[in-house]
């Protein structure tokens, strides 16, 4: 047996234990990314093997939290994929404007960059007071960071460029205050966002959404878990609602795909059909 095969077995055993002890289900995560993240975590853990670490992981919540961080932390940026946000602004927002109030679920919000990007976009499009963004993530620690809305100043240059390419109509510097090498986002942006913990692998749906964004989250999932999550989104989305995925994700060959139309060419933006009466 090769060391790689042995490591895979250790991963399976550990993930089963983690599920039974803590209720976090990583058993249907794509293996190659999980393997990379676990070996990185292991290298910094002080343990020689995953089997040796397992004993402490299953008994010591704080130790488990370091593992959870290692497995689930995603990096994001504001207006990541500017062309996507431009398409939202031009091809989705006109529909959203026809509703008195718009509810948006952003699943896998990480440290909040995308949630704040959406808030800025909708405010600029005149939806002030008419929308709420439910931003969720599996990891409670990143949710606290998301609530703070504080980002390293060095990233702001990049965020600003993205904002401009995404069709921003204002001046990006109006949305933050720079202090001690950090940028603090305007508190008014947060008024439109509810941050909450939600685990796509085990939790139930969020009702009556007009729009769901889940970008580059399901790329870490195996087929079976992808289908589960898409089913969750489908039951949370109102007819006529929009489902937005990451640039390299699509609904092709997915069970729910026949209930959705493509909104924008070459963009993973879909609209749920109205049932035929």
């Amino acid at each position: 047996m090769t060391p790689e095969e042995l490591f895979d077995i250790e991963i399976q055993l550990l993930m089963e234990g983690v599920y039974q002890v803590y209720g976090y289900d990583f058993r249907e995560y794509a293996e190659s990314s999980l393997r990379r993240r676990l070996s990185q975590w292991l290298a910094g853990s002080g343990c020689a093997t995953l089997s040796l670490a397992q004993s402490q992981i299953l008994r010591d919540r704080q130790f488990f939290d370091t593992l959870l961080r290692g497995i689930t932390v995603n990096v994001s940026e504001m207006f990541r994929d500017p062309a996507f946000f431009k398409a939202i602004r031009e091809q989705v927002v006109p529909y959203l404007k026809t509703y008195p109030f718009v509810k948006i679920w952003l699943a896998g919000c990480a440290t909040g960059e995308e949630a704040y990007s959406m808030a800025i976009l909708l405010l600029e499009e005149g939806l002030k007071g008419r929308f709420r963004i439910y931003a969720t993530d599996i990891n409670e620690e990143v949710i606290r960071k998301a609530q703070d809305g504080i980002y390293p100043l060095q990233e702001l240059q990049h965020f600003t460029r993205n904002y401009q390419h995404a069709g921003g109509t204002g001046s990006f510097s109006d949305y933050y205050t720079a202090r001690y090498n950090h940028a603090i986002l305007a508190p008014s942006l947060r008024e439109n966002i509810v941050f909450a913990a939600h685990n796509l692998a085990v939790d139930t749906d969020f009702g009556e959404m007009n729009m769901i964004l889940c970008r580059n989250v399901m790329i870490y999932f195996k087929q079976s878990l992808k289908e589960r999550v898409l089913g969750l989104f489908d039951s949370s989305l109102l007819p006529g609602g929009f489902l937005c995925l990451g640039t390299k994700e699509s609904l092709e060959h997915r069970r729910i795909s026949d209930r959705y139309d493509t909104v924008a060419a070459r963009m993973p933006i879909y609209r749920k059909r109205y049932e035929k009466k």
Binding site: S32, S33, R36, D81, N216, Y220, T247, K248
Partner: protein, 194 residues
């Protein structure tokens, strides 16, 4: 030639950076249509690139060239390019997945990520190729391929448009073949014939 020779390699992985477009035009353009293994390629492209390079290469090559799709199963005679701003990874069973984990060696896609995951899956049935480029991406991945018993090929640094990537690989790995770009297609074809 051995009797009943079976192709001893299941995949070829290629890492390239600066100078990559012309190197890939030549290398992928020289492979025969019935090339007996899938070819997985990471080239360092800017985060907002579309699939234009894959589309262009496809028109110039006899093998099929495409941007990798999520959970696609790789097949022989096709080259798969990593999409911009995603790492490309190989799963057991030979399907492709992506990640948006942080850049590795300042790169996403990173050659190391592709090479290491491919080495985990294909073991000794893998050929790794490091071509022209700046920086050191690909060196650790090539080492992993070597340690897993795979075949390692590095472009002769003097032949490369930019030599630091192949030089870095050679510092870390005792490569099986150090050759000029124009010899690589023939070498690959020979290795794959068994």
């Amino acid at each position: 030639m051995k009797k009943n020779s079976v192709c001893p390699f299941k995949a070829v992985v290629i890492g390239v950076s600066t100078g990559g477009v012309s190197a890939l035009k030549f290398l992928l353009g020289s492979l025969p249509k019935n090339f007996p293994a899938p070819v997985l390629v990471v080239t360092h492209i800017t985060p907002d690139s579309d699939d234009g390079l894959a589309v262009l290469l496809d028109t110039m090559c006899t093998i099929r060239v495409k941007e990798a799709d999520e959970q696609e199963f790789v097949v022989p005679g096709t080259a798969y390019l990593a999409p911009a701003n995603y790492h490309l990874l190989v799963e057991r069973g030979g399907s492709l997945t992506f990640s948006v984990d942080p850049p590795v060696n300042f790169a996403r896609p990173s050659v190391d990520v592709l090479f290491e995951t491919a080495a985990d899956v294909f073991g000794s049935a893998l050929i790794g190729v490091v071509l022209t480029g700046a920086g050191s991406d690909g060196s650790r991945g090539l080492l992993r391929i070597k340690q897993s018993g795979g075949m390692t090929i590095v472009q002769e640094p003097a032949d490369a448009e930019l030599s630091s990537m192949p030089e870095s690989a050679l510092q870390m790995v005792k490569a099986d073949h150090i050759v000029c770009l124009n010899e690589i297609p023939r070498l690959l074809t020979k290795l794959l014939a068994g």
